[in-house]
């Protein structure tokens, strides 16, 4: 995926040449024809067959579960007022489907400010089929491989450096909405940036790549794949090293701290004051009336 993207980037710089269009067409046709003859060996034909049947299965699922809002061909449906009932899915890529369906956000239970994370409605195979089908609607980001978002392959020094980089990138790019610990934050008009703690690394990567709902898309030009990986590494590190200072009270900042200062601190101390005043000097069991 990364190689494809960078190749496309290099190609796009040549786009403005006078003969570029014709040349590109030639190259494309040659490549497609060449590939067809070179790759269509019996083994890969079987694979293609599999893919085709997966896409077909995905299409059927799509027609049942998604087309009401997204249109029978994923073209999106506009309401009478010109708003989106469901946006077009052309070009959103398999990553978007894997994120939205895999976290239960889609299918939506009801229209609202934002699709909340909820119980997942489709099995893994069905989600994969839906993703494969939507990927055929137009080119878009593919589902990332584990090597894209895991730092397991690095040595420990490089891992530590990745976490440090990721922390600074997280504070620069993510905390404004998702809070300093990824606990989430409010967005205008009932929207919200959900918590990113305890979310699968794959889904965080996909969210960065596809920009679901009001979230901006962090393309590979904004945050390189390595930078995305570093951010995820930092978040996983937060999960592992939680609670250095004690109970974090929801990691929501000073509002929660103030609540605890009043309820635990002042509440407790006033309770002690009542207790002290109730136990006054006495020589018998009966309380002395002062």
């Amino acid at each position: 995926m990364r190689i494809l993207n960078s190749a496309a980037g290099r190609l796009s710089r040549l786009r403005r040449g006078r003969l570029a269009g014709a040349l590109l067409l030639m190259v494309g046709l040659l490549a497609a024809g060449g590939l067809w003859t070179a790759v269509m060996t019996p083994a890969s034909a079987e694979k293609t067959q599999d893919l085709a049947s997966q896409v077909e299965e995905g299409r059927k699922l799509f027609l049942v579960g998604c087309s009401t809002c997204h249109g029978t061909n994923g073209e999106g449906i506009l309401t009478d007022r010109g708003n989106n009932l469901g946006p077009s899915l052309v070009g959103v890529g398999a990553a978007a489907v894997d994120f939205q369906v895999g976290t239960g956000r889609m299918p939506m239970a009801q229209p609202g400010a934002q699709a909340p994370r909820k119980d997942v409605a489709y099995s893994d195979e069905e989600t994969a089929a839906l993703a494969a089908y939507v990927a055929t609607l137009g080119p878009g980001p593919a589902i990332p491989a584990e090597s894209d978002y895991s730092i397991d392959g690095l040595d420990s020094e490089a891992q530590e450096a990745a976490i440090v980089r990721g922390g600074q990138l997280f504070l620069t790019n993510c905390t404004a909405c998702h809070n300093f610990e990824g606990s989430g934050g409010a967005m205008p008009n009932g929207g919200y940036a959900p918590t990113v703690r305890g979310v699968d690394s794959k889904y965080i990567y996909e969210a960065l790549l596809t920009g679901p709902q009001t979230m901006p898309t962090f393309s590979n030009g904004n945050l390189t794949p390595d930078q995305k990986r570093d951010i995820i590494a930092y978040l996983n590190n937060l999960n592992d090293s939680a609670g250095v200072g004690g109970f974090g009270m929801g990691s929501l900042g000073p509002v929660a701290e103030g609540l605890f200062a009043w309820i635990v601190g002042i509440g407790g101390l006033v309770g002690f004051a009542v207790w002290i005043a109730a136990h006054t000097t006495r020589s018998s069991k009966k309380k002395v009336q002062a």
Partner: protein
């Protein structure tokens, strides 16, 4: 005439000598001879304080201040008030190698590399929050019981100044780590200063030593935090306590308690033990909170960097209400001669807190001017017996509380799944309507409670015994309340509405301030309107006669059925079985 000396004792040939003092006595004597402690202590060790839990709220503030001094000194041993850039090389891995100010790096060192440092840092922060909160509940107690009336008005003013200084002390303190959250707070403070018309930019440039952030603000805040404000706080606390001793503590009314005396227990041994013990409890609670509850995790915020910000950037709770005002303020702004006037910032964050603080400071003077009450008061008033006063503070509290909630609008939105815009719109109206509703409800509530007290005095308490008359009607039996309870309920003054003197003197010249006095009379009338006055002696006498008469009428029922005392615990009923069954 000879004197018979046979009866004169012969043993006292030498002068009387005192018994050799014990060790403690010797030390005390040594000190007394040099410091004159005996005279000072003789009086003060026996000084009497009245006993009530609500009189200990100010003590929470005092003891948490002591905790702040102790933990604060510990922190200064390692903290570097410097904005010099250093590379963090401490033991918190996720920040190692990151550029930050020396202040931030040393705070991280306190948190991760100084033994017990994080616990002390957190205890210091919790104690600060408790310090200001306890000042506030102490203030509410003093207000609601009318303890701020003459002669204690100036102590109220000192208390208000302590609250203001405590708030500033808190702000300068939580700004010191120079982390992302506190840096955002300082940035906001810079904006607040710059919103002041004409002088705003000068104020900001003087404070920051140039344009924000510069490299001056942390050392300057540090000096203010560890020297200037603590010095002022100590001086004012001393004055506050001296005035408390001089005025003597107020007390609740009751049998034996008058405006002239204080009924309670002496300083030594009772209050020395109680107050000393309470210090350790306060220290213990802050230490436990510092050990178990993580506060201000600066390692997660990271070093301050103007390009970064985090959701949930709120000030500590005591700065929350002006922040709420700022959050719900519409974006009013105008330009004049090339200058911007940012009313959207200036009004909620500079004008409003100043206005509210002035109101708070003037409350005792406003009340005594309206009521015309210039007498000394050492007996407290129950909140219900001053309905307008009580309602006024509840109304102010409602305003404060709504502004406070508005300051956490984003946290409310995400924790209660609601819409931040709708919360904001609601608050814009509620901060005006809410206090008015609260005022009205509280006032009527107080008056209803006064009526309840009156009913208890005139008709007795409800026994819960239901009587059936020969005609078949049911009524509840009331019995008189005890003498002590009746005394306590009636130990209050009748309200006197201020009436101005005649508007003109004999020659028909208007008296000076006549119009103002007219306003004062109106306000005084409104202040006391609908209050229930305590019954007169005659009314109480009549009520007693009535009760006796009633008792005589129902006397025939006695010995037939239970008279109620079997159940109400007013006298012993051993051996007295239910009669006539």
């Amino acid at each position: 005439m000879s004197i018979d000396t046979s009866r004169v004792a012969t043993s006292n040939s030498s002068a009387a000598t005192a018994k050799k003092p014990g060790k403690a006595g010797a030390v005390a004597n040594w000190a007394d001879e040099r410091l004159g402690l005996g005279t000072a202590m003789k009086k003060n060790l026996r000084k009497v304080f009245p006993d009530h839990w609500s009189f200990m709220l100010g003590e929470i503030a005092l003891w948490s201040f002591v905790v702040l001094l102790l933990t604060g000194v510990f922190l200064t041993l390692w903290y570097h008030p410097s904005m010099a850039e250093v590379v963090y090389e401490g033991s918190y891995d996720p920040l190692r190698g990151v550029l930050m100010s020396d202040a931030m790096a040393s705070t991280l060192d306190i948190s991760f590399d100084v033994r017990g440092g994080l616990m002390i840092r957190q205890a210091h922060h919790w104690a600060a929050m408790i310090f200001i909160a306890s000042m506030m509940i102490h203030l509410l107690r003093v207000y609601f019981t009318g303890a701020y009336r003459k002669p204690r008005e100036l102590n109220w003013v000192i208390g208000c100044l302590l609250l203001l200084l405590g708030t500033l002390e808190g702000f300068t303190g939580y700004s010191l780590p120079d982390d992302l959250l506190s840096g955002t707070g300082i940035r906001a403070a810079d904006g607040f200063m710059k919103s002041i018309p004409v002088v705003g930019t000068y104020v900001s440039f003087f404070l920051f030593g140039g344009e924000f952030p510069g490299d001056q603000i942390i050392p300057r805040l540090y000096m203010i935090h560890v020297l200037l404000i603590p010095g002022l706080l100590l001086a004012l606390i001393a004055a506050h306590m001296l005035l408390l001793v001089y005025h003597k503590h107020t007390q609740w009314p009751g049998p034996g308690r008058t405006e002239e005396n204080v009924v309670g227990f002496p300083m030594l041994p009772v209050y020395a033990a109680k107050a000393g013990g309470f210090f350790f409890i306060v220290f213990g609670v802050t230490a436990i909170m510092g050990g178990l509850l993580g506060i201000n995790p600066i390692w997660k915020y990271g070093p301050y960097d103007p390009t970064k910000v985090t959701a949930g950037s709120q000030p500590d709770w005591y700065m929350g209400w002006p922040d709420g005002a700022l959050r719900i303020m519409p974006g009013w702004e105008f330009h004049l001669g090339g200058y911007s006037f940012a009313l959207n910032v200036f009004l909620p964050i500079i004008v409003l807190p100043g206005l509210m603080f002035t109101i708070l400071l003037l409350l005792p003077f406003i009340e005594s001017w309206i009521t015309g009450d210039k007498r000394e008061h050492h007996l407290l008033e129950r909140p219900r017996n001053a309905p307008t006063r009580t309602a006024l503070m509840v109304s102010l509290m409602t305003f404060y509380g709504l502004m406070w909630a508005a300051g956490g609008n984003d946290i409310i939105a995400i924790t209660l799944n609601s819409d931040i815009n709708q919360i904001t719109y609601f608050m814009r109206v509620a901060v005006f309507v809410g206090p008015a509703i609260a005022f009205w409800v509280t006032r009527r509530w107080c008056i209803s409670l006064q009526r309840h007290d009156e009913a208890k005095l005139l008709h007795g308490y409800e026994t819960g015994v239901i009587m059936r008359s020969p005609e078949g009607g049911y009524s509840e039996r009331h019995l008189p309340i005890s003498e002590n309870a009746a005394y306590t309920l009636t130990a209050r003054d009748r309200d006197v509405v201020y009436t101005p003197g005649s508007e003109t003197d004999e020659s028909g010249v208007a008296a000076p301030g006549g119009r103002l006095n007219g306003l004062r009379a109106k306000l005084s009338e409104l202040w006391f309107a609908d209050n229930v006055q305590k019954p007169t002696a005659q009314e109480l006498e009549e009520a007693r006669h009535h009760a006796e008469h009633e008792h005589a009428l129902t006397a025939a029922l006695d010995g037939v059925a239970a008279d109620g005392h079997q159940f109400d615990g007013h006298h012993a009923v051993e051996g007295e079985s239910l009669r006539g069954h």
